[in-house]
């Protein structure tokens, strides 16, 4: 039962961290909880579909379908998070200033929220499909009794969700002045870390060279399979033994989003060309 709980916890944790960060980062956008719930639901349904299509997906692209699938959904998440951060760099402060003024900037708000929906859906999809497959394996192998399996899965699920929730609540305690800086930094790291993971899948599929691998090895300090390693991986994209190619992806995406944010802020500061944001 504890084995089941631990594995489910580990899988849920990563998705829960992402949901926690995104939920905090979208504070002040009206109606966001509906989109977050929609993303969760879509991700869960998708997980089940992907889990049962796993064999078909694996066989695609000459046996490299799974790698391509993972790299693609990570890529989608990176693009969405980038868009989110760039959008927030212009509208975040505005939202904070008028947190109670509902209905403001609804059109771009809605577009932003569909981005949130997609990010959450793909995060849940990626981790969820593995969880479904694992539980399915336990169920048909008959090693554990059904009851123990359900209990273990539930404990793991609740544990993972709890960590995400505490992260969300913790982020909300950050004073408003620093709030958007903090959440933007987290989203930035999240996106860069996901890009590095996508690179890892493409290397695994033999579509990219690994270049120098590993660039360094800190697995003696914090290993990626440890709980702390998992947390740091989910939050900061930590990898104890990164390859050169992963580092390139991390740095490139990090820099590109930062540039996009400062470009958007500059453009918004020019009063003549920018679309009016006042009500």
């Amino acid at each position: 039962m504890f084995g089941t709980a631990l594995i489910v916890f580990r899988e849920v944790l990563e998705a829960a961290l992402i949901v926690g960060i995104v939920a905090a980062a979208t504070t002040g956008i009206p109606g966001r909880m509906r989109y977050i719930a929609g993303g969760l639901a879509a991700g869960l349904v998708g997980s089940i579909l992907v889990a049962f299509g796993a064999e078909k997906i694996s066989q695609l692209a000459e046996g490299m379908g799974q790698e391509l699938f993972n790299a693609s959904i990570l890529g989608i998440a990176v693009v969405m998070l980038a868009w989110h951060n760039i959008w927030m760099s212009v509208h975040g402060r505005e939202l904070a200033a008028s947190a109670k003024q509902l209905g403001r900037d609804v059109v771009s708000g809605a577009r932003e929220l569909s981005v949130v929906l997609v990010v959450i859906a793909v995060a849940v999809l990626r981790e969820g499909s593995e969880t479904v497959l694992f539980l399915y394996g336990v169920a048909i192998s008959g090693d554990a009794s059904q009851g123990a399996m359900i209990a273990g899965g539930a404990i793991g699920l609740v544990g993972g969700v709890a960590v995400g929730y505490f992260l969300f609540k913790g982020l909300l305690r950050i004073p408003l002045r620093h709030f958007f800086t903090a959440t933007s930094a987290l989203v930035l790291l999240l996106a860069a870390g996901m890009a590095a993971q996508a690179a890892r899948f493409l290397i695994q599929a033999d579509m990219l060279p690994s270049l120098a691998s590993p660039l360094w090895d800190t697995s003696g300090v914090v290993d990626n399979s440890s709980l702390l390693g998992k947390l740091l991986q989910g939050l900061l994209g930590y990898d104890a033994q990164p390859s050169g190619m992963q580092m390139i992806f991390f740095v490139a995406v990090f820099a590109a989003i930062l540039l996009g944010m400062s470009w958007a802020r500059k453009r918004a500061a020019e009063p003549s060309t920018a679309t009016p944001v006042t009500t």
Binding site: E55, Q66, L133, F134, Y136, G137, S219, N224
Partner: protein, 108 residues
């Protein structure tokens, strides 16, 4: 035209040669155990692992040091590329059955 065809053929055969340069290794999963559970591979080369899951249940081939994470559905084969590796030992596990499914790749 002939020259172009020749060049294409040459590059194709070179491509095939590059492919053949990667060495294949077969690993089976049975009763949630790897066999062999110790595989020696050449260091400094890209290596292809062909993992056959003979169990009915899915397994996830995972190794942080090898940078691999791949779900292998029950009764199916999966191809995994690793390396080029520096000489040393690299542990891997079947994440869904971590207690029994363990192995090590030794790069020499």
């Amino acid at each position: 035209m002939k020259r172009l065809a020749l060049a294409t053929l040459l590059s194709l055969s070179l491509g095939a040669f590059a492919q053949a340069d990667k060495t294949d290794f077969a690993i089976a999963i049975k009763d949630h155990k790897f066999s062999p559970d110790r595989i020696e591979v050449p260091a400094g080369k890209k290596v292809k692992l062909v993992v056959e899951n003979q169990d009915a249940t899915p397994e996830e081939f995972e190794s942080h040091s090898l940078k691999v994470e791949k779900v292998i559905p029950g009764k199916s084969k999966a191809t995994i590329f690793i390396g080029p590796l520096k000489a040393g030992e690299y542990k891997f596990v079947g994440e869904f059955n971590e207690k029994t499914a363990k192995g090590v790749i030794v790069a020499k």
